[in-house]
Amino acid sequence: MLDRAATDTAKNEATRPVRFRGAGFEPASSRYGGWIALALVIAIWQAAGSAGLVNALFLPTPSAIVRAIYQLAVSGALWQHVSASLLRIGVGWLLGTAAGIAVGFAIGLSRLARSVGITFISALFPIPKIALLPLLILWLGIGEEPKIATIALGVFFSTAISVYSGVDAVPRNLIRMAQSFNVPFATIVRKVIWPGALPAILAGFRITASVALLLVVSAEMIGAQYGIGAFVLQAGNLMQTDQLLAGVVILSVFGLAVGKVIGWLEMRLLHWR
């Protein structure tokens, strides 16, 4: 009754809409927005270069960079440099990842491995791995081994950390559930802990792929005849900025490709999320 009376009194007054306050904080990326922006930047860059507003020595035009990549591809040098880098990244990443997964699981599952492993990882992880390259050259010679070992070391620490964090994040109730059905240890690891830790492991792959790329370029700049890093350094020394940027573009494409592969893996393996 009281409500009705209140409504009645207010009935003759003008109404006004309740202001909407719930907008924002929901950033959604549009499908083509990023590509359009990228194309726009390249177009402006090209136009500025063609109009002579930018010195080609300091910043060559996108078309000059494309031309440089084309010439590198035709001469066969592109493949020589890319294959050398790919081999180092591939072998180094695989070795580092395999060791990182094994150690990460050990730390995640065993008390002894955890107490020893975390101490070592905490002490060694912050060291920039490239600083170890001279030592590794001393130990392993001047061939491919020290470069591969540098990459493997960089990848190993990040992988081990993401794997044991992933194992720690597997809900304990799922492990207790498996134990309550007398599921053996190995099956719990394979069927509960591995899939449960996989999201963190794959997220770790994104980081280790960029670590591997960073380290291969650094290592090749310090001591290599072939490889994208060596090529970029050489081009810089000779003031061939179109070649230099060609190398940078190739690195960027490689990074994008790795990102796509990991994205595809996540889609395939983590579709249940």
């Binding site: 799922l174 134990q179 309550s180 059905f181 599921v183 449960g196 983590l270 249940w272 999320r273």
Partner: protein, 257 residues
């Protein structure tokens, strides 16, 4: 097969949780455990099921389990504990994978369990696609697949809305009707305890001690009838009067913690 809680005492560090709890769950019997929040109900169930080592005392079994039982003491969890990356069918098959059963035998058990819980049409569904009630049905289906002698149910309905709770409670009553399977049913809901249990173990506030064991004086089938409603309500009130003051104290303690 009987399950016996024999003088179980448990402490978490300095915190005494259970104090000398003893009772027996006979074959086919349903025993509910109720008590104020934090009285150690779930801890007691974990101890009974061998998932937690008590500070002293022990859970014991008497008599052989049914010959076809693959896991005599089987949990049904409050949070369902389903593998999110596995389909309904794979979740139900999960506890059978390490057994000696052939693929065909496993399939038959899974099929039977899915049928009994009304999940046959959802076998390829992932847990995230299911409602809470259906998820718990998967949990129950998984428990049935291993042919348990005693179900250890840890507040299996407390994560569900009241309508779903009612539907699943009816399912439990149906599944436990023939007395082939016993259960220890931990709950804070006195109505669930009164409708499902043969006996209700009432625990005191922490450290949990047995305050009283109340026998429900009618068959489960009879409890569905209208005439039984008043008696069940009286029973619930009787239990509530036992724990009400302690429940108030327990609530205040939690709020001050």
């Amino acid at each position: 097969m009987d399950l016996i809680a024999s003088h179980i005492t448990h402490r978490f560090g300095d915190l005494a949780v259970l104090d000398d709890v003893s009772f027996t769950v006979s074959a086919g019997e349903v025993v509910a455990i109720v008590g104020p929040s934090g009285c150690g109900k779930s801890t007691l169930l974990s101890i009974l099921g061998g998932l937690l080592q008590p500070t002293s005392g022990a859970p014991e079994l008497r008599g052989a389990p049914p010959a076809d039982s693959l896991n005599p003491l089987t949990f049904v969890f409050q949070d369902f504990a389903l593998l999110p990356w596995a389909t309904v069918e794979e979740n139900v098959e999960f506890p059978l994978l390490h057994t000696q059963l052939s693929a065909a035998q496993r399939r038959a058990l899974v099929e039977d369990a899915l049928r009994r819980t009304g999940l046959a049409d959802f076998r390829q569904t992932y847990p995230k696609q299911l409602s809470g009630g259906m998820r718990q049905r998967v949990g129950i289906s998984r428990a049935l697949a291993v042919k348990p002698a005693i179900l250890l149910m840890d507040e299996p309905l407390s994560a569900l809305d009241s309508q779903t709770r009612e539907l699943l409670l009816e399912d439990f009553i149906r599944l436990l009707a023939d007395g082939g399977m016993g259960a220890v049913y931990v709950t804070h809901n006195l109505e669930e305890a009164a409708r499902l249990a043969d006996r209700i173990v009432v625990l005191s506030r922490r450290p949990g001690r047995i305050r009283e064991v109340v026998t429900v004086p009618m068959t489960r089938a009879a409890r569905g009838e209208a005439a039984a409603r008043e008696k069940l309500l009286a029973l619930q009130n009787q239990i509530w009067s036992l724990i009400r003051n302690e429940a108030i104290d327990a609530e205040r303690e939690v709020q001050h913690a």
